[in-house]
């Protein structure tokens, strides 16, 4: 799982550089996010521009991060979703759970 991290305006931006999140790499994404939260980075934006495909375990990894950030009074939001990835959030109504912006800059 290739990810890069950036600090912007008090948020940690996490860039996922994989085209595909499925049960082969979602646990790694989940653990990466949980580790960030443990380190005190509780305000996270996951930038998904490169992600062309996400399965239920990928959604689960992001939801897990969301819940853990919330438990520490932080938040986990999403940006730059490709249309078909966004439709997965809509089907599961997870678009009502996550704050989702078209672009990372739209958060600021």
């Amino acid at each position: 799982m290739i990810v890069t991290e950036e600090k912007t305006n008090g948020f940690s931006a996490l860039f996922v550089k994989e085209e595909r999140i499925d049960a082969h790499n979602s646990a790694e994404l989940k653990n990466y996010i949980l580790h960030m939260i443990e380190q005190g980075k509780v305000n996270i934006i996951v930038q998904l521009e490169h992600v062309r495909f996400v399965d239920s375990s990928g959604l689960g990894a992001l939801l897990s991060g969301f819940k853990h950030a919330e438990a520490k009074s932080g938040r986990l939001a999403l940006s730059n979703l490709q249309p078909q990835v966004l439709s997965m959030f809509e089907l599961t109504r997870l678009n009502r759970v996550f704050e989702i912006q078209t672009d990372l800059q739209d958060f600021f």
């Binding site: 595909r20 082969h24 399965d55 689960g60 599961t92």
Partner: protein, 142 residues
Amino acid sequence: MNSTANFQVDVVIPTQTKYLHLIGSIGEHIGKDLEDFSGDRNALAYHLNLVLTEATTNAIKHANSEDPKDTVRINIDIQEQELIIKVYDHGQGFDLETIPNPDFDQLNESGMGLFFIKTLMDSVTYTKSGDCNVLEIRKLLI
């Protein structure tokens, strides 16, 4: 001549998640090649990718017989009006009818896979077949 003639794909993989990408991509390509499909072919391609990924993941994760030589067989049969996916596992099986839909007001990290399969395809059954179980998924192509 019908531009989308019948064709078949049969894959046998070890129970390892690294093969999900291969299986999903096959579904994606098939979706894009179905030129007679009147709906959105890119959406169909994503949905076949997803459904094959979810069904194969379940066969790997929930039905692993602990035998490192255990395999999952995935069969895809594309007919003129219908696409039929069969995923065979060697696990203890389960009762598809007892699996509830996710609770959308309090979503859980897991339990969304079968929901996607049921929602995006036209019919799903899970039955015993000889010494294995088969999840059969059908999608109308008309």
